[in-house]
Every structure is written in C-alpha cells, then in structure tokens.
Amino acid sequence: MMIAQHSLQLGQTSWVLDYRKAAYLPDHQLLILSDVHLGKVQHFRKNGIAVPQQAAQQNFTLMQALIDTYKPAHILFLGDLFHSQNNVEHQLLAQLHTANPNINLLLVPGNHDSAMLQQLPSYLQPTAVYHQIDNMIFSHHPPANLQPAHFHCYGHIHPAVEVRGGARQRLKFPSFLYTDAALVMPAFGNFTGSVAANQHLKQANKALCTSEGLWLMENHKFS
C-alpha cells in the first residue's frame, strides 16, 4: 500500500517521513531536508550544458508545498544545500525566505557547502558539524561511530533502494533508511543522483519514495 506519510517513533521522538523526501519532527516543529544541491542546474548551464531550469524551480515549489502541509517553525538543511559557488539560482532560496519570513532556516554544513560557507545569506544560520537537539545528532556525513546514547540523522549518501523482480525487472527509488539508532535521509534535490544503498545500514527498514507515495519495507522490528 502506498501512503503519503509514515508516522513513527525513532529514538524516543515522534517522526513523520514524507514521500516528498522530507522528514518532520512535530514536537520540535522542525522540517528536515537533505542534499538539495541548490545551484546545480545553473552550474551545468554555466558550463554549456543546457539542463532545464524548471528542474531547479521544482525543488522550491515542493518546499513551499511541504511548508504549507507542516507549517514548521524551523527548516534544517542537512548539508549540501548548495552545489557549488554562488550563482543566480540561489535567489530561489531568498524568495523562499521572503515568502516565509518567520521560518528559521538552519544549515548543517556539508562537503558541497564549503564554497559558500564564507558568504552565507544572513537569513541562513549555520550550525555545528554535529547539531544536537535533545539526544538527537544531526550531521551531513555519516558519523564514524553510532553512539548508543544518541539517535543519528544524516544525509550525504543519497540512498536509494533497488528492487529486483524476475525477468530482469529493476526499479530504483530514493529511500529513507532507518533503525532504532539512525535515520538516513534521501536527497531532496530533483537534479541529484541516487545510489543503491540496500546494504548501507545493517538491517535497516526502508521507506521508498515513489511518485505515488511511500512504500515501506519494514522487515526488522526494533530492539
């Protein structure tokens, strides 16, 4: 069965996973988006590769839709918000801010953000590399070790799940991966690739983001 949202308890907190590749923490009014790669389309265009600009626009149409659904107080970008150097596409973020001036925008820095860190717009607040809320640790990169006392949430790997059926059938979907220790976010940007990561987290449950909704593969009960 396809569902639009999946509500569950992860690390003592209530979470909502949304098929639009976002997560929401109702208790904290916090919307989480990972790996947006803002500016990637223009970066390609600047180099003579004519990727349609609508692809970039679509990210922000979707973000606004998510804001309208959840009415968050904060949006946490889990790294790689920016793809490369500053370019005109970054205006889209400014427009989002103008349209929603009361939402607090936070950025956990990722590897792609390094070129932008010195010139972040004033409305975007950088956090520490490991951003902590209660016992939850948010980072862009997977932590070297999962800390038993904490719950980790990270991005970076653009996880997807590839399902194979008989007759060479192969379908690949961006996916959430989660256990009772960690949640890996799918990449939000629609001009980003994804990597089949069926084995990334041992015995992880998966929520596949298809165009029709979330498809859950929850084979493993939490300990």
Binding site: V41, H43, N47, V163, A167, L171
Partner: protein, 807 residues
C-alpha cells in the same frame, strides 16, 4: 595510352589493371564523382589513388602547388598506416616526392605539429579527425588545393552517425570547392545506388557507380556435430563442438575464429586450449576491450604467420589483410548475409584465391540458419544499410564544431544541411530549435540564467571562450562506449578494459578470465582495476553490454522457406538432413508451419501458462511483437507477462490463463494505433533513457573531463539517467529526447519491419496447438533466462509481487 604513368608503373610491377581500375581512372580524370564497389584484394586503393599521381606526373615539378590535394577517410585508425605505406610505395614508383601522412589519435605530436603548419599532399584520416580540422579557424585556406575526397569502407559508416558526420563535413567543404571529386569505396550491400546518393548528396545524379566484374568465390561448409542426437537444442556457446574443429585448425596455415561476443571469445579460447593444450603459444585472442598493445601484437603475429588461430569478434571484421589466413570459422549465427560474407572474405586474400568459411552452429536449430545462409549467398541477396535520418545530436555537435572554428551564419547552414541526405526533411522550426538550444540553452531569454556556450557576433554563431572550444574539441565524435575501467597489473602493464558494472560485482580475491588469463582482482585505484595473475582455473568471465545484432530480414525470409520445405518433407543439403529427426519431432509433438501458416503453441506447464509464437523474424522484431501482444492482451484485464525471445520466435509467460482464439489474434495483429501501442507497451521510456546516453555524449551534454584532471570536473558529473529524467520531465519538446524515442522505434524495435511482419501474419493461417509438453521449437525459449517483463498492473501491485516480504 591514356594513363601512361599508371600503366607503366603497373607494368613494372607485372600487373594488369582490372576493368574497374581503368573505369575509375577515366572517371576521375574527367572530373566525375562516384562509388566503387569491388572485392578486397583487387587493388581498390590504386583505382582511386593513382589518378592523383597520374595528374601530378604530368605537371612540371616547379608548377606543383604545395598543400593538401587528397583526403582519404577510413573508419579505422588501424587501416590508415598500412594504406599510407602502400601509397608511399606507389608515389616512389612514379618518381614523385610527396608527403603522405596519417592524422588520427595515434599520430605522434611532432607530426601533428608539422601538420598544423602545413598539411601534407595526401592525408589519411578518420571522420572525427576531419571534424577536428573543421573546428579550426583557418580550415578553409588549408583545403584550398583539395581536389579528391575518398571515403574508404563507406558501407561501414553509411548506417551510423559517423556517416552523418561525413555528410555534413562534405556539404560544408563542397560549398568552398564545388568541383571536388568525391568517391566512396563500398563492399557489396543491397543498396549501392542509395549509398552513392547519400555520399554525393545533391550531385548524385551525375555520379558514376563502378562495379567490378570480378568476384571472389566463397566456399561455405557447415559443421554438423558428430553426435547430433546429443547436440543441445539450446544454448549460445557451442563449446561441445570444439574437439571436432581441432583437426581443421591443423589443416590450414591460419584460421580466424569469429564469435559474436567478447565473452564468447574468452570461453572459446580457454576451451580450445583445454582440448588441444599443445596449441598454447600458437593461438591468440582479439577483441575490442583488449589493450591496443595486445591487439597490435596479435595483428603483427598474424601478418608474420606465427599463429595457427585467433579467436576474435567483429574487432577483426575490418582492417588490413592477413595473408596467412586460409579459412574462417563463424561460431553461431552471423545474423546477416553481409557480415557472413565480410568475415568469409578475411580468408584467401590474394586476387583469384577463394574464401573458405565454416559455419559452426551453437545449437541444433541454428543449422536451419546455415541452410538459409547457403541460399542467400548463392542468390547474392545482401542486406541494405539504412542511412540515418535526422540525428539532431550530430547536427548540434556539428554546429558546435563550426562555432569553434570560423563560426557560422544560421541561414547559410540551413541552406547547406538541407542538401544532405540525413537532413533533407528537417523543418525550419526544428533547425531553429537547435540553434536556440545551442545559443540560449533552450530557455526563454527573460528568465535569469548563466548559460554559457556560444554567442552571436556579426550574425555569426561563435564559441564564447577558449575553455568551451577546448572542451568541445575533446568530445568530437559519435562513438560512445560505456564507462570502461582499465585493467592493469598491480606492478604496471595495461591489459585492456572492462565495463564498470562488471567490476562492481567483484570482491578482492575474486578471479576472472580476461585476455585469456586468470586474473585475481586486487583493488580499484585511480579508475584502474588492479589485478595479479592467478593460478586458479575457475572464475567469472566478464561480459560486455554490446549491442545485440538483429537477424536481417533477408535471412529470416530464407529461414521461413527452409521451414516450409521441411513441412513438405523436402530437405535439401546436409544441414537440413541433419535436422530431419528434430523437425519430425516438432511435427509429431506440434506442427511445422508452412509459409502460409503461423504457429501458436499454448503450453500449460506446472509453473504457469505460455503462449509461443514463431514468426522467424529475428530477435529484435520478436522483442517488439511480444511486448505489443502483452500490452494488447493486458488492455482489458490487468495481467503481468514475462517474455523471452530468440531469432525464431517468442514466448509470453503468465501465472494467469492466456485465452486465444481467431478474433483475439486478429486484434493482436492490427496495425491501427501501432506506434502508440508500441511506445506504451515497451518500457519505452526506459529504452529511450538508454538511448539518451549516446545522444547526450554526441550532443555535448555530458563531459568526461580533461585527461588527468578528474577532480576539477567533479561538480559537473551527472548520469545520463538523471539528465534524461529532467529533460523528459521539464522540456517535453526537447528534440534530443524525441530523438531518443525515435531511435527506440526505428533502430531498436525496427517499427517498419515490425509493421511488415504484422501484415504478413494477418495473411497467414493461424494454427493453434495446445500442449502439456515442450516442443523442439519451444525448448530454447523455455530455457532462456534473460527475460523481459511487461505489466499493466499498478506500481504498488508490481512492487508487492517483487517484494513478497514487503508490508
């Protein structure tokens, strides 16, 4: 004497000119263009090269102008070097001192530098290098004295994008040099007139088709397995027959063993050495993924007569002649008469010598194909090569090439390309779209944008900066290979390359067979697969995702005739005699279809329901037919089919019952709505996505990075899957996306042939046979594990079936 210098040189060599050589000399001397069709080994080169020497010999030395006079284009770099040697020898024989040089990716820097200053008198090069020349600002002045333009092995380029590159280059050069003499050299194909038309474009009516009266005789022998009743009904490797071939290998000086895939060469090489270990050192492997050092070594050894046999793929279809080769084996179906003859022609290279080819079936039914080949060769029915129409990616690349050089005026280019065969029907709207896509990145100008590539200056489209030019010059060409990783020894030494996906299936310590050696996978480092030698004898064999060759329509028509004869109990030739029992079994268990019949077998086995159909149209058409039927059957009720197909027929398999009667059959065969049904039925989007990879590369939408500087382009990496997705979703009118779908319909599904097949099947009488046991015809299909799947079910239902454990 009309050609005193040429005749004298021939006489000195103790040769006599052939009819076609004299005809060409005459035609070229009178300023004509045309196409030459002559067998190999008869001196085609001299037919079109000597006119230059003849005319130069008549000029006093001081009157000769320096600069390029003859451009000689070949599809293979390897050919240029040997041709240059032969030409230099002839020039010396005429007492002329000429610069005859090659210009390819292999040309050394010093020679290239010299060529940048002044081109030689004769330049042998490839279509790609020619385009590189056109991307320099002063190409026009460099070609000032060009009088002859020869395209060697034109049939090899006619049906692909390299042919279109040549058409475009020629159209441009002709506007500057209207009296240029253009000649093609082609092997025999079914549409020589059309081949000449494509090459000469607007001037084809005055062109001359020169055909040699000489032809090389070809002897075809089919290998009938000794133990035929035990020979497999299915399979594609043919390894059990190897022991029978060893004595034949010993009989001849050198044998070329052609297989259809690179993986098959590796397996055959191993098997031959297992059966005849004493051949070690006397046999070799040759395929496109081996490093050029290894290939060159094999080719040199072949020339020198040091090898008894070489197992190879189409990598040796073309190229220079190996005189020691006395016979050729073709393992499995060659898929077309033309390829079969081409391979046969690799043996017996002296004029007058005959070619000898052995057809080696890989399973029993393939003998029927051998019988069909015999007839096709006897009747000289050779396939046509269809020229490409409207490849927008090549046009975009060409526009960019011009923008990198002198720049171009859109109006001028518009006039020019409409005279090419490939773009004769292009609409002004589509042409303008291409210009717009290049100049402003396909977007309206009001939108914010940082797109940069070309600009307009004084009415000309010009590249914006040097970086753009550099990038483009590095990606000129239309030959696209999958991402390949070099295979090297840990301590250095390149062996060849394998595709990335194969490497991802390896773990350190795994052993695989490559270049005839067992190699242990150590690690991937700097985009290299590092290996060391292994003594283990097990191990995987890498396979390469090469294109599958479709069975040609002429060959399939002959196959249906053979089947018809068998149904009438007429079995000509040793092949059909050997097949008698098998065909009798088919008749006993089911039916042998005559040419006016179409056979459907409905099999109910334990695992599900199958519908099998045998149109003998080749795998490609069967792929389309099976998907079309599955789609049309699923229109009324949701049903999932998996499909299998081979060159003889196809199978639809379902866990649900398949109902079939004359009315339903009629509905399946209708040509109404064919195009839409096909696009909807095949996973057309998925297929188009695969085509898009090549299109992206040709049109310059992916950039593979500067050599040695992969890091700087990291932020520019996107897979063509991703590119296809965004173009498909946000720019529906993008011509490149449309081209991807057209390529699927035209090339992958061959819509035209599929339509013909449907019309033929409508006229055939339907024979339905219900059975609970497999039949000889069905057996290879039942055993096929490479299945396609089509479903009219919802995504959620499909996922549920694929993941029974999902909730």
């Amino acid at each position: 004497m009309l050609f005193p210098h040429s005749q004298a040189w021939f006489k000195a060599k103790n040769w006599r000119p052939f009819d076609f050589q004299l005809q060409c000399w005459e035609a070229v001397a009178t300023g004509k263009s045309g196409l030459l069709n002559a067998p190999t080994g008869f001196g085609k080169t001299y037919a079109l090269f000597l006119p230059l020497l003849e005319s130069l010999s008549r000029q006093p030395e001081q009157e000769r102008t320096p600069g390029l006079k003859l451009l000689w284009i070949t599809p293979l770099r390897a050919l240029t070097a040997d041709l240059a040697l032969a030409m230099q020898d002839a020039a010396a024989g005429f007492g002329l001192s000429l610069r005859i040089e090659t210009k390819t990716g292999d040309t050394v820097a010093a020679v290239r530098q010299k060529q940048r200053i002044a081109l030689p008198d004769v330049l042998l090069t490839t279509p790609e290098s020619l385009h590189l020349l056109l991307s320099t600002p002063d190409w026009e002045s460099k070609l000032n004295h060009l009088s002859y333009f020869v395209v060697d092995e034109w049939h090899e380029m006619l049906g692909n994008k390299r042919g279109v590159m040549l058409e475009l280059a020629l159209a441009l050069i002709k506007t500057k040099l209207p009296s240029l003499r253009i000649w093609g050299i082609s092997a025999t194909i079914g549409n020589l007139e059309e081949a000449m038309q494509v090459l000469l474009a607007a001037h084809w009516k005055t062109g001359l088709l020169v055909q040699s009266k000489h032809s090389k005789s070809t002897t075809i022998t089919s290998i009938i397995p000794d133990n035929f009743e035990k020979y497999p009904w299915t399979g594609h490797l043919g390894l059990p027959i190897v022991p029978q071939l060893i004595p034949l290998i010993y009989k001849a000086k050198t044998t070329l063993i052609f297989t259809n895939t690179r993986a098959q060469t590796e397996l055959w090489y191993q098997r031959i050495l297992e059966v005849a270990p004493e051949l070690a050192g006397q046999i070799a492997l040759h395929h496109g993924s081996l490093s050029s050092e290894i290939r060159t070594w094999v080719e040199d050894a072949l020339h020198a007569g040091k090898l008894k046999a070489v197992v190879c793929t189409s990598s040796l279809d073309l190229g220079v002649d190996f005189r020691p080769v006395e016979q050729v084996f073709q393992i499995g179906s060659p898929k077309s008469v033309a390829r079969f003859l081409q391979r046969a022609g690799r043996s017996g290279h002296q004029p007058g010598a005959s070619s000898h080819i052995y057809f080696v079936p890989t399973h029993a039914l393939e003998l029927m194909e051998a019988a069909a080949l015999q007839q096709a060769v006897a009747e000289n029915t050779i396939e046509a090569r269809q020229p490409l129409l409207l490849p927008y990616d090549v046009l975009l690349q060409f526009m960019m090439t011009l923008a990198c050089g002198d720049g171009f005026e859109p109006e001028h280019l518009w006039q020019l390309i409409r005279h090419t065969f490939a773009f004769q029907s292009i609409s002004r709207t589509d042409f303008d779209w291409c210009i717009h896509f290049l100049v402003s990145g396909g977007q309206s100008l009001e939108a914010y944008d940082e797109y940069q590539k070309v600009g307009m200056l004084n009415g000309k489209v010009l590249a914006l900066n040097r970086k753009v030019v550099m990038k483009h010059r590095m990606s000129i060409g239309t030959i696209v290979s999958d991402t390949n990783l070099a295979v090297t020894y840990v301590n250095g030494g390149r062996i060849g390359s394998v595709e990335e996906w194969f490497v991802t299936s390896l773990l350190p310590g795994d052993v695989f067979w490559f270049a005839g050696k067992a190699l242990e996978f150590v690690r991937i480092k700097d985009l290299q697969v590092q290996v060391k030698k292994s003594t283990r004898t097990d191990g995987k064999v890498p396979s390469w995702m090469g294109g599958r060759m479709p069975l040609s329509s002429s060959l399939s028509a002959f196959m249906r005739q053979r089947c018809d004869e068998a149904a009438h109990h007429i079995n000509h030739g040793p092949e059909m005699h050997a097949l008698q029992d098998l065909l009798a079994e088919q008749e006993k268990r089911s039916h042998l279809p005559k040419t006016n019949e179409i056979l459907l077998e409905l099999l109910q086995l334990n695992d599900g329901n199958r519908m099998l159909c045998y149109p003998f149209e080749g795998r490609q058409v069967h792929e389309g037919l099976s998907a079309l039927f599955a789609y049309r059957l699923g229109k009324s009720t949701p049903i999932s089919f998996s499909m299998a197909m081979n060159d003889y027929g196809f199978e639809l398999f379902s866990d649900q019952a398949i109902h079939m009667d004359a009315t339903t059959w009629e509905q399946l065969l209708t040509t109404d709505n064919l195009r839409n049904d096909l696009l909807a039925s095949m996973n057309a989007t998925e297929m188009a996505r695969r085509q898009f990879g090549e299109i992206c590369r040709v049109a310059g939408l992916v950039f593979h990075g500067y050599p040695g500087a992969p890091v700087r382009t990291k932020h520019l990496k996107a897979s063509y899957h991703l590119l296809f997705n965004v173009f498909h979703e946000y720019e529906a009118d993008n011509l490149l996306v449309q081209q991807a779908f057209e390529q699927v319909l035209d090339q992958q599904l061959d819509e035209g042939r599929l339509r013909t097949a449907l019309l033929r099947m409508q006229k055939q009488k339907l024979i339905i046979h219900q059975s609970k046991t497999p039949t000889p015809f069905s057996f290879p299909l039942l055993a096929d594990r490479l299945r396609e799947k089509i479903s009219s079910e919802q995504l959620a239902d499909r996922l549920k079936k694929m993941m029974p454990s999902g909730s």
